[in-house]
């Protein structure tokens, strides 16, 4: 690749020390830092959980059907994002945008279901200060919900530029972040809902 070719590329799509584009390396570092953030919170929850067998009864108040529905929603939105990535690589802008819109809509569905859950729990008196279990529950699910909001926002802006056939490599970057959000939920669901 000569210098003139390099100048036409977005910095994030230029390979760094290997054939991996810089943007992708940056996204994986972000993923690594998120592993420590969520992993740290989950580890603390697990250690407290071992000391509090009674939390099993409290966790029974979380809605497993709602949690399962949200798992299905996030898994499907992850499928949409990876299909959008595949379409972007094929230069199929319509399919890429359609899949990103679906991913965003499913992200919003997740948030609506979570809001319904929160409402029901708060009405029953299970607020963030009701018990340490509920403090962990709101911390973990709330932090995750903030990541969902950030992911939906990121996908929206990536979709806007992709619809103009610009920065198509960003579809993959947004996808990596979105799959991370999905993975975090794959652990939160059994922790707070099934294996309570």
């Amino acid at each position: 690749m000569d210098t003139s070719d390099t100048m036409t590329h977005d910095v994030a799509s230029i390979p760094a020390m290997s054939e991996v584009p810089r943007g992708r390396i940056a996204m994986w570092w972000l993923v690594a830092s998120e592993i420590v953030i969520f992993g740290g919170a989950v580890c603390c929850y697990l250690m407290f959980r071992f000391r509090h067998p009674e939390w099993g009864a409290l966790a029974a108040h979380t809605s497993t059907p709602m949690g399962a529905l949200n798992t299905l929603v996030l898994l499907t939105s992850s499928l949409n994002m990876v299909l959008a990535h595949s379409a972007a690589e094929r230069q199929d802008i319509r399919a890429a945008c359609r899949n990103m819109i679906m991913a965003m809509l499913l992200g919003c569905v997740f948030l609506v279901v979570k809001a319904i859950e929160y409402t029901a729990e708060i009405r029953q008196g299970y607020t963030i200060t009701a018990d340490l279990f509920w403090s962990f529950y709101y911390l973990l699910t709330g932090l995750h919900a903030l990541h969902v909001i950030a992911g939906v926002t990121a996908i929206f802006f990536v979709m806007l530029s992709a619809s103009k056939r610009r920065h198509l490599h960003r579809v993959e970057m947004a996808g990596i972040y979105w799959h991370l959000v999905d993975i975090v939920w794959l652990f939160l669901f059994p922790l707070l809902y099934i294996a309570g």
């Binding site: 054939e19 499928l79 490599h169 993975i183």
Partner: protein, 105 residues
């Protein structure tokens, strides 16, 4: 032509597998974990549920995030984060598991 060069990601070495098949497997695993969860609070059920969660996460990382086709140094970046987490865990264990808790309810 200039525009095409701008749009095309440089490194397209990822393989695109059958994503819908992966999604279907993930759904089956979700259903299995729900069924196992109905068994009740038992040691076996808890281990099964978390093993299934790890398998699902690894499938998403490998196939949807394409880590399977990434060079080893990216694997190391993720592995380093998990190692940091392990040390964090070791550092916090004495504060939570080995002391008498006095928590306000």
């Amino acid at each position: 032509m200039q525009e095409t060069i701008e749009q095309q990601p440089v490194a397209n070495y990822h393989r695109h597998v059958n994503y819908i098949k992966i999604w279907a497997i993930l759904l089956v695993l979700l259903i299995v974990s729900l069924i196992v969860g109905m068994i009740g609070y038992q040691f076996f059920a808890v281990w099964m549920i978390f093993t299934i969660a790890v398998v699902k996460a690894l499938m998403v990382v490998a196939y949807y995030m394409h880590l399977l086709w990434e060079p080893k140094f990216l694997w190391l970046a993720v592995g380093f984060a998990v190692l940091c987490l392990f040390f964090l865990f070791l550092g916090v264990v004495p504060d939570i598991l080995l002391v008498k808790l006095q928590l306000a309810h």
